[in-house]
Symmetry: C2
Subunit: 236 residues, 2 copies
Protein backbone atom coordinates (compact mmCIF):
# COMPACT_ATOMS: atom_id res chain seq x y z
CA UNK A 1 0.00 0.00 0.00
CA UNK A 2 2.58 2.54 1.02
CA UNK A 3 6.11 1.92 -0.07
CA UNK A 4 8.11 5.06 -0.63
CA UNK A 5 9.17 7.53 -3.26
CA UNK A 6 12.12 9.85 -3.56
CA UNK A 7 11.69 13.57 -3.43
CA UNK A 8 14.19 16.36 -3.58
CA UNK A 9 17.81 15.79 -2.70
CA UNK A 10 18.75 17.11 0.69
CA UNK A 11 18.69 20.85 0.94
CA UNK A 12 17.94 21.26 4.59
CA UNK A 13 19.99 18.41 5.89
CA UNK A 14 23.66 18.96 6.29
CA UNK A 15 25.58 15.82 5.57
CA UNK A 16 25.25 12.88 3.30
CA UNK A 17 26.97 9.98 4.76
CA UNK A 18 27.53 6.71 3.00
CA UNK A 19 25.30 4.03 4.43
CA UNK A 20 28.25 2.01 5.72
CA UNK A 21 29.17 4.90 7.97
CA UNK A 22 25.93 4.54 9.88
CA UNK A 23 27.18 2.48 12.78
CA UNK A 24 25.11 3.65 15.67
CA UNK A 25 21.48 4.52 15.53
CA UNK A 26 18.98 5.68 18.12
CA UNK A 27 15.37 4.60 18.18
CA UNK A 28 12.98 6.82 20.11
CA UNK A 29 9.73 4.97 20.54
CA UNK A 30 7.54 4.44 23.57
CA UNK A 31 5.75 1.29 22.53
CA UNK A 32 8.04 -1.54 23.71
CA UNK A 33 7.02 -4.13 21.12
CA UNK A 34 7.43 -1.82 18.18
CA UNK A 35 10.70 -0.64 19.63
CA UNK A 36 12.12 -4.14 19.87
CA UNK A 37 10.85 -5.09 16.46
CA UNK A 38 12.52 -2.08 14.92
CA UNK A 39 15.79 -2.68 16.70
CA UNK A 40 15.85 -6.29 15.65
CA UNK A 41 15.08 -5.51 12.03
CA UNK A 42 17.86 -2.96 11.91
CA UNK A 43 20.41 -5.23 13.51
CA UNK A 44 19.73 -7.97 11.04
CA UNK A 45 19.26 -5.96 7.89
CA UNK A 46 22.13 -3.55 8.40
CA UNK A 47 24.40 -5.67 10.54
CA UNK A 48 24.39 -3.06 13.27
CA UNK A 49 25.71 -3.82 16.72
CA UNK A 50 24.79 -0.68 18.52
CA UNK A 51 21.12 0.06 18.39
CA UNK A 52 20.28 2.45 21.16
CA UNK A 53 16.73 3.01 22.29
CA UNK A 54 14.84 5.57 24.33
CA UNK A 55 11.21 5.62 25.36
CA UNK A 56 10.65 9.32 25.52
CA UNK A 57 12.05 12.52 24.13
CA UNK A 58 13.60 13.54 27.41
CA UNK A 59 15.20 10.13 27.81
CA UNK A 60 16.61 10.43 24.30
CA UNK A 61 18.01 13.87 24.98
CA UNK A 62 19.71 12.79 28.17
CA UNK A 63 21.09 9.69 26.51
CA UNK A 64 22.61 11.77 23.75
CA UNK A 65 24.21 14.06 26.32
CA UNK A 66 25.72 11.08 28.11
CA UNK A 67 26.56 8.67 25.34
CA UNK A 68 27.15 11.07 22.50
CA UNK A 69 25.55 11.57 19.13
CA UNK A 70 24.22 8.63 17.14
CA UNK A 71 24.69 8.45 13.38
CA UNK A 72 20.97 8.40 12.72
CA UNK A 73 17.70 8.66 14.61
CA UNK A 74 14.32 7.04 14.18
CA UNK A 75 11.71 9.07 15.99
CA UNK A 76 8.12 8.23 16.77
CA UNK A 77 5.74 11.09 16.02
CA UNK A 78 3.54 10.38 19.02
CA UNK A 79 5.59 10.22 22.14
CA UNK A 80 4.00 10.65 25.56
CA UNK A 81 6.58 13.35 25.89
CA UNK A 82 6.19 15.14 22.60
CA UNK A 83 3.47 14.85 20.05
CA UNK A 84 3.86 16.26 16.58
CA UNK A 85 6.89 18.15 15.39
CA UNK A 86 8.12 19.02 18.86
CA UNK A 87 10.40 16.03 19.20
CA UNK A 88 11.90 16.58 15.78
CA UNK A 89 12.53 20.24 16.43
CA UNK A 90 14.12 19.68 19.81
CA UNK A 91 16.31 16.85 18.59
CA UNK A 92 17.50 18.85 15.61
CA UNK A 93 18.43 21.58 17.99
CA UNK A 94 20.64 19.12 19.83
CA UNK A 95 22.02 17.20 16.87
CA UNK A 96 21.62 19.37 13.77
CA UNK A 97 23.61 17.13 11.43
CA UNK A 98 22.12 13.75 12.24
CA UNK A 99 19.44 12.51 9.86
CA UNK A 100 16.12 11.96 11.65
CA UNK A 101 13.47 9.61 10.33
CA UNK A 102 9.93 10.12 11.53
CA UNK A 103 7.81 7.04 12.04
CA UNK A 104 4.11 7.05 12.70
CA UNK A 105 0.99 4.93 12.57
CA UNK A 106 -1.10 7.35 10.56
CA UNK A 107 -0.02 9.09 7.40
CA UNK A 108 -1.72 12.42 7.78
CA UNK A 109 -0.62 14.43 4.80
CA UNK A 110 -0.44 17.68 6.74
CA UNK A 111 1.70 16.05 9.42
CA UNK A 112 4.12 14.63 6.89
CA UNK A 113 4.43 17.95 5.18
CA UNK A 114 5.04 19.69 8.49
CA UNK A 115 7.69 17.16 9.48
CA UNK A 116 9.52 17.47 6.18
CA UNK A 117 9.43 21.25 6.38
CA UNK A 118 10.86 20.98 9.87
CA UNK A 119 13.82 19.12 8.45
CA UNK A 120 13.08 15.43 8.81
CA UNK A 121 15.17 13.21 6.60
CA UNK A 122 12.11 11.13 5.87
CA UNK A 123 8.79 9.79 7.07
CA UNK A 124 7.73 6.16 7.15
CA UNK A 125 4.62 4.28 8.12
CA UNK A 126 4.67 1.83 11.02
CA UNK A 127 2.74 -0.61 8.91
CA UNK A 128 5.44 -0.78 6.27
CA UNK A 129 6.80 -4.20 5.30
CA UNK A 130 10.33 -4.94 6.54
CA UNK A 131 11.97 -4.82 3.13
CA UNK A 132 10.32 -1.55 2.20
CA UNK A 133 11.25 -0.08 5.55
CA UNK A 134 14.86 -1.13 5.17
CA UNK A 135 15.00 0.23 1.64
CA UNK A 136 13.58 3.56 2.74
CA UNK A 137 16.03 3.90 5.59
CA UNK A 138 18.96 3.01 3.35
CA UNK A 139 18.01 5.73 0.93
CA UNK A 140 17.59 8.24 3.71
CA UNK A 141 21.02 7.44 5.08
CA UNK A 142 22.42 8.05 1.65
CA UNK A 143 21.06 11.56 1.80
CA UNK A 144 17.76 11.18 0.05
CA UNK A 145 14.64 12.67 1.57
CA UNK A 146 12.02 9.97 1.55
CA UNK A 147 8.26 10.28 1.98
CA UNK A 148 5.46 7.73 1.70
CA UNK A 149 4.12 7.62 -1.83
CA UNK A 150 0.66 8.37 -0.53
CA UNK A 151 2.09 11.78 0.23
CA UNK A 152 1.37 14.69 -2.08
CA UNK A 153 3.70 17.67 -1.56
CA UNK A 154 0.58 19.90 -1.51
CA UNK A 155 1.74 23.44 -2.19
CA UNK A 156 4.70 24.86 -4.02
CA UNK A 157 7.99 25.89 -2.47
CA UNK A 158 7.22 29.40 -1.43
CA UNK A 159 4.93 28.59 1.44
CA UNK A 160 7.04 25.62 2.33
CA UNK A 161 10.15 27.74 2.66
CA UNK A 162 8.31 29.89 5.15
CA UNK A 163 7.43 26.85 7.20
CA UNK A 164 11.03 25.66 7.14
CA UNK A 165 12.12 29.07 8.36
CA UNK A 166 9.50 28.91 11.08
CA UNK A 167 10.69 25.47 12.14
CA UNK A 168 14.20 26.87 12.41
CA UNK A 169 12.92 29.58 14.69
CA UNK A 170 11.16 27.08 16.90
CA UNK A 171 14.34 25.05 17.00
CA UNK A 172 16.04 27.97 18.69
CA UNK A 173 13.79 27.68 21.73
CA UNK A 174 15.35 26.33 24.90
CA UNK A 175 13.74 23.32 26.60
CA UNK A 176 12.12 25.42 29.26
CA UNK A 177 10.81 27.84 26.69
CA UNK A 178 9.32 24.93 24.79
CA UNK A 179 7.54 23.75 27.92
CA UNK A 180 6.09 27.18 28.43
CA UNK A 181 5.03 27.49 24.82
CA UNK A 182 3.27 24.16 25.10
CA UNK A 183 1.29 25.41 28.08
CA UNK A 184 0.47 28.63 26.26
CA UNK A 185 -0.89 26.54 23.42
CA UNK A 186 -3.12 24.79 25.93
CA UNK A 187 -4.72 28.10 26.79
CA UNK A 188 -3.06 28.49 30.17
CA UNK A 189 -2.54 31.89 31.78
CA UNK A 190 0.89 33.04 32.96
CA UNK A 191 -0.07 32.50 36.55
CA UNK A 192 -1.14 28.93 35.88
CA UNK A 193 2.06 28.26 33.99
CA UNK A 194 4.17 29.58 36.82
CA UNK A 195 2.30 27.30 39.17
CA UNK A 196 2.66 24.21 37.00
CA UNK A 197 6.39 24.74 36.53
CA UNK A 198 6.93 25.95 40.08
CA UNK A 199 8.62 29.16 39.04
CA UNK A 200 7.79 32.82 39.53
CA UNK A 201 5.41 34.51 37.16
CA UNK A 202 8.15 37.03 36.43
CA UNK A 203 10.28 34.19 35.12
CA UNK A 204 7.43 32.99 32.96
CA UNK A 205 7.12 36.46 31.49
CA UNK A 206 10.84 36.61 30.81
CA UNK A 207 10.66 33.34 28.92
CA UNK A 208 7.59 34.41 27.02
CA UNK A 209 9.25 37.61 25.92
CA UNK A 210 12.13 35.55 24.60
CA UNK A 211 9.79 33.14 22.84
CA UNK A 212 7.83 35.92 21.21
CA UNK A 213 10.97 37.57 20.00
CA UNK A 214 12.34 34.31 18.60
CA UNK A 215 9.25 33.31 16.69
CA UNK A 216 8.39 36.89 15.85
CA UNK A 217 4.96 37.09 17.45
CA UNK A 218 3.40 39.94 19.37
CA UNK A 219 0.30 38.40 20.86
CA UNK A 220 0.13 35.00 22.46
CA UNK A 221 -2.72 33.97 20.21
CA UNK A 222 -0.36 34.47 17.30
CA UNK A 223 2.16 32.23 19.01
CA UNK A 224 -0.52 29.56 19.19
CA UNK A 225 -1.28 29.97 15.50
CA UNK A 226 2.36 29.70 14.50
CA UNK A 227 2.90 26.61 16.63
CA UNK A 228 -0.18 25.00 15.11
CA UNK A 229 0.91 25.87 11.59
CA UNK A 230 4.00 23.70 11.98
CA UNK A 231 2.09 21.18 14.09
CA UNK A 232 4.45 21.64 16.99
CA UNK A 233 2.06 20.13 19.49
CA UNK A 234 -0.67 17.74 18.52
CA UNK A 235 -3.83 17.66 20.60
CA UNK A 236 -3.91 14.96 23.24
Amino acid sequence: MDSATSNAQDRNTARHLPVDRVREILIVEDHPLMCDALALTLKISFGLKNVRTARSLSAAQEQIRNQGMPDAVILDVNLPDARGAEGLVMLRRQIPDVPITMISADLDNAMISAAMAAGAQGYVSKSLAREALVASLRRMWEGERVTPDSYVPEDAGEEDAARAELARRFASLTPQQMKILRLICQGKANKEISYELSIAEATVKTHITAIMSKINARRRTQAVLLANSVRLFEPA
Copy 2:
Protein backbone atom coordinates in the same frame (compact mmCIF):
# COMPACT_ATOMS: atom_id res chain seq x y z
CA MET B 1 -13.83 3.57 -3.52
CA ASP B 2 -15.99 5.42 -1.07
CA SER B 3 -19.64 4.52 -1.10
CA ALA B 4 -21.35 4.95 2.21
CA THR B 5 -22.36 3.14 5.34
CA SER B 6 -25.12 3.68 7.83
CA ASN B 7 -24.37 4.75 11.33
CA ALA B 8 -26.65 5.57 14.19
CA GLN B 9 -30.24 6.53 13.70
CA ASP B 10 -30.87 10.22 14.14
CA ARG B 11 -30.41 11.40 17.66
CA ASN B 12 -29.35 14.95 17.01
CA THR B 13 -31.56 15.63 14.06
CA ALA B 14 -35.10 16.48 14.76
CA ARG B 15 -37.35 15.12 12.06
CA HIS B 16 -37.46 12.12 9.86
CA LEU B 17 -39.29 12.95 6.79
CA PRO B 18 -40.26 10.46 4.14
CA VAL B 19 -38.17 10.96 1.04
CA ASP B 20 -41.19 11.96 -1.00
CA ARG B 21 -41.68 14.94 1.27
CA VAL B 22 -38.38 16.42 0.19
CA ARG B 23 -39.61 18.80 -2.48
CA GLU B 24 -37.25 21.71 -2.26
CA ILE B 25 -33.57 21.47 -1.63
CA LEU B 26 -30.82 24.04 -1.38
CA ILE B 27 -27.31 23.52 -2.68
CA VAL B 28 -24.60 25.73 -1.22
CA GLU B 29 -21.51 25.39 -3.35
CA ASP B 30 -19.20 27.98 -4.81
CA HIS B 31 -17.78 26.01 -7.71
CA PRO B 32 -20.24 26.61 -10.56
CA LEU B 33 -19.64 23.37 -12.43
CA MET B 34 -20.02 21.16 -9.41
CA CYS B 35 -23.06 23.15 -8.44
CA ASP B 36 -24.77 22.60 -11.78
CA ALA B 37 -23.82 18.97 -11.88
CA LEU B 38 -25.31 18.41 -8.47
CA ALA B 39 -28.50 20.26 -9.27
CA LEU B 40 -28.95 18.33 -12.48
CA THR B 41 -28.36 14.98 -10.83
CA LEU B 42 -30.89 15.75 -8.14
CA LYS B 43 -33.54 16.94 -10.55
CA ILE B 44 -33.24 13.80 -12.61
CA SER B 45 -32.81 11.22 -9.88
CA PHE B 46 -35.41 12.58 -7.49
CA GLY B 47 -37.71 14.29 -9.94
CA LEU B 48 -37.32 17.59 -8.14
CA LYS B 49 -38.46 20.83 -9.70
CA ASN B 50 -37.17 23.30 -7.19
CA VAL B 51 -33.44 23.05 -6.69
CA ARG B 52 -32.20 26.26 -5.18
CA THR B 53 -28.54 27.17 -5.20
CA ALA B 54 -26.30 29.63 -3.41
CA ARG B 55 -22.61 30.33 -3.89
CA SER B 56 -21.73 31.41 -0.41
CA LEU B 57 -22.92 31.01 3.13
CA SER B 58 -24.15 34.57 3.36
CA ALA B 59 -26.05 34.20 0.08
CA ALA B 60 -27.63 31.02 1.40
CA GLN B 61 -28.67 32.68 4.63
CA GLU B 62 -30.25 35.61 2.88
CA GLN B 63 -32.00 33.34 0.44
CA ILE B 64 -33.51 31.36 3.28
CA ARG B 65 -34.70 34.56 4.92
CA ASN B 66 -36.38 35.65 1.69
CA GLN B 67 -37.61 32.43 0.17
CA GLY B 68 -38.16 30.38 3.27
CA MET B 69 -36.74 27.12 4.51
CA PRO B 70 -35.82 24.33 2.10
CA ASP B 71 -36.55 20.70 2.94
CA ALA B 72 -32.89 19.72 2.81
CA VAL B 73 -29.50 21.33 2.34
CA ILE B 74 -26.33 20.20 0.65
CA LEU B 75 -23.42 22.24 1.94
CA ASP B 76 -19.87 22.45 0.67
CA VAL B 77 -17.31 22.29 3.46
CA ASN B 78 -15.00 24.79 1.81
CA LEU B 79 -16.83 27.95 1.00
CA PRO B 80 -14.99 31.21 0.36
CA ASP B 81 -17.28 32.45 3.07
CA ALA B 82 -16.97 29.71 5.63
CA ARG B 83 -14.45 26.93 5.85
CA GLY B 84 -14.93 24.00 8.15
CA ALA B 85 -17.86 23.60 10.48
CA GLU B 86 -18.78 27.28 10.49
CA GLY B 87 -21.30 27.01 7.67
CA LEU B 88 -22.95 24.00 9.23
CA VAL B 89 -23.20 25.62 12.61
CA MET B 90 -24.61 28.87 11.29
CA LEU B 91 -27.13 27.15 9.06
CA ARG B 92 -28.32 24.91 11.85
CA ARG B 93 -28.83 27.98 13.92
CA GLN B 94 -31.13 29.31 11.22
CA ILE B 95 -32.87 26.08 10.26
CA PRO B 96 -32.48 23.62 13.13
CA ASP B 97 -34.81 20.97 11.75
CA VAL B 98 -33.60 20.74 8.18
CA PRO B 99 -31.19 17.89 7.40
CA ILE B 100 -27.83 19.19 6.18
CA THR B 101 -25.49 17.09 4.08
CA MET B 102 -21.84 18.08 4.00
CA ILE B 103 -19.99 17.59 0.75
CA SER B 104 -16.25 17.91 0.33
CA ALA B 105 -13.36 16.96 -1.89
CA ASP B 106 -11.20 15.47 0.82
CA LEU B 107 -12.33 12.98 3.41
CA ASP B 108 -10.30 14.06 6.38
CA ASN B 109 -11.42 11.81 9.18
CA ALA B 110 -11.20 14.53 11.79
CA MET B 111 -13.28 16.87 9.68
CA ILE B 112 -15.99 14.28 9.15
CA SER B 113 -16.10 13.51 12.82
CA ALA B 114 -16.34 17.21 13.66
CA ALA B 115 -19.15 17.73 11.15
CA MET B 116 -21.14 14.78 12.45
CA ALA B 117 -20.70 15.96 16.02
CA ALA B 118 -21.92 19.37 14.94
CA GLY B 119 -25.11 17.78 13.74
CA ALA B 120 -24.68 17.11 10.05
CA GLN B 121 -27.11 14.58 8.64
CA GLY B 122 -24.28 13.06 6.61
CA TYR B 123 -21.04 13.60 4.78
CA VAL B 124 -20.30 12.64 1.19
CA SER B 125 -17.31 12.84 -1.10
CA LYS B 126 -17.40 14.99 -4.21
CA SER B 127 -15.85 12.17 -6.15
CA LEU B 128 -18.72 9.82 -5.44
CA ALA B 129 -20.45 8.11 -8.37
CA ARG B 130 -23.95 9.41 -9.14
CA GLU B 131 -25.78 6.30 -8.02
CA ALA B 132 -23.91 6.12 -4.75
CA LEU B 133 -24.49 9.80 -4.15
CA VAL B 134 -28.19 9.48 -4.81
CA ALA B 135 -28.43 6.44 -2.57
CA SER B 136 -26.64 8.24 0.26
CA LEU B 137 -28.87 11.27 -0.01
CA ARG B 138 -32.01 9.14 -0.06
CA ARG B 139 -30.96 7.43 3.13
CA MET B 140 -30.14 10.73 4.79
CA TRP B 141 -33.52 12.13 3.90
CA GLU B 142 -35.08 9.11 5.49
CA GLY B 143 -33.41 10.05 8.73
CA GLU B 144 -30.28 7.96 8.61
CA ARG B 145 -26.95 9.54 9.43
CA VAL B 146 -24.59 8.60 6.65
CA THR B 147 -20.81 8.78 6.56
CA PRO B 148 -18.27 7.61 3.98
CA ASP B 149 -17.18 4.07 4.70
CA SER B 150 -13.59 5.22 4.84
CA TYR B 151 -14.67 6.95 8.01
CA VAL B 152 -13.81 5.41 11.36
CA PRO B 153 -15.81 6.88 14.27
CA GLU B 154 -12.52 7.25 16.19
CA ASP B 155 -13.44 7.60 19.85
CA ALA B 156 -16.38 6.47 21.91
CA GLY B 157 -19.43 8.53 22.72
CA GLU B 158 -18.26 10.36 25.79
CA GLU B 159 -15.89 12.72 24.06
CA ASP B 160 -18.21 13.01 21.11
CA ALA B 161 -21.07 14.15 23.29
CA ALA B 162 -18.88 16.93 24.58
CA ARG B 163 -18.16 18.04 21.04
CA ALA B 164 -21.84 18.01 20.17
CA GLU B 165 -22.53 20.13 23.22
CA LEU B 166 -19.77 22.49 22.16
CA ALA B 167 -21.20 22.73 18.66
CA ARG B 168 -24.54 23.65 20.18
CA ARG B 169 -22.86 26.43 22.09
CA PHE B 170 -21.20 27.75 18.98
CA ALA B 171 -24.54 27.61 17.21
CA SER B 172 -25.85 30.15 19.70
CA LEU B 173 -23.45 32.80 18.45
CA THR B 174 -24.92 35.62 16.41
CA PRO B 175 -23.48 36.34 12.96
CA GLN B 176 -21.49 39.32 14.15
CA GLN B 177 -20.14 37.35 17.08
CA MET B 178 -19.07 34.62 14.68
CA LYS B 179 -17.20 37.18 12.58
CA ILE B 180 -15.42 38.43 15.63
CA LEU B 181 -14.56 34.95 16.82
CA ARG B 182 -13.09 34.20 13.41
CA LEU B 183 -10.82 37.21 13.68
CA ILE B 184 -9.84 36.24 17.21
CA CYS B 185 -8.86 32.83 15.85
CA GLN B 186 -6.64 34.59 13.34
CA GLY B 187 -4.70 36.16 16.17
CA LYS B 188 -6.11 39.64 15.76
CA ALA B 189 -6.20 42.11 18.65
CA ASN B 190 -9.41 43.84 19.69
CA LYS B 191 -8.27 47.08 18.14
CA GLU B 192 -7.58 45.42 14.81
CA ILE B 193 -10.96 43.70 14.90
CA SER B 194 -12.73 46.96 15.58
CA TYR B 195 -10.93 48.48 12.61
CA GLU B 196 -11.74 45.61 10.26
CA LEU B 197 -15.41 45.63 11.16
CA SER B 198 -15.61 49.40 11.43
CA ILE B 199 -17.06 49.37 14.91
CA ALA B 200 -15.85 50.71 18.24
CA GLU B 201 -13.48 48.68 20.32
CA ALA B 202 -16.02 48.86 23.14
CA THR B 203 -18.47 47.05 20.91
CA VAL B 204 -15.90 44.41 20.13
CA LYS B 205 -15.35 43.87 23.83
CA THR B 206 -19.07 43.59 24.42
CA HIS B 207 -19.32 40.92 21.76
CA ILE B 208 -16.31 39.08 23.06
CA THR B 209 -17.71 39.00 26.56
CA ALA B 210 -20.88 37.48 25.13
CA ILE B 211 -18.89 34.94 23.12
CA MET B 212 -16.77 33.92 26.08
CA SER B 213 -19.84 33.46 28.21
CA LYS B 214 -21.60 31.38 25.56
CA ILE B 215 -18.75 29.01 24.88
CA ASN B 216 -17.61 29.06 28.48
CA ALA B 217 -14.08 30.35 28.00
CA ARG B 218 -12.16 32.80 30.12
CA ARG B 219 -9.13 33.61 28.02
CA ARG B 220 -9.19 34.22 24.30
CA THR B 221 -6.59 31.56 23.71
CA GLN B 222 -9.07 29.08 25.15
CA ALA B 223 -11.67 30.34 22.71
CA VAL B 224 -9.23 29.59 19.91
CA LEU B 225 -8.67 26.09 21.25
CA LEU B 226 -12.38 25.38 21.51
CA ALA B 227 -13.06 26.65 18.00
CA ASN B 228 -10.23 24.51 16.65
CA SER B 229 -11.47 21.45 18.50
CA VAL B 230 -14.71 21.52 16.53
CA ARG B 231 -12.90 22.73 13.42
CA LEU B 232 -15.02 25.82 13.26
CA PHE B 233 -12.61 27.65 10.98
CA GLU B 234 -10.18 25.83 8.75
CA PRO B 235 -6.91 27.56 7.87
CA ALA B 236 -6.91 29.40 4.59
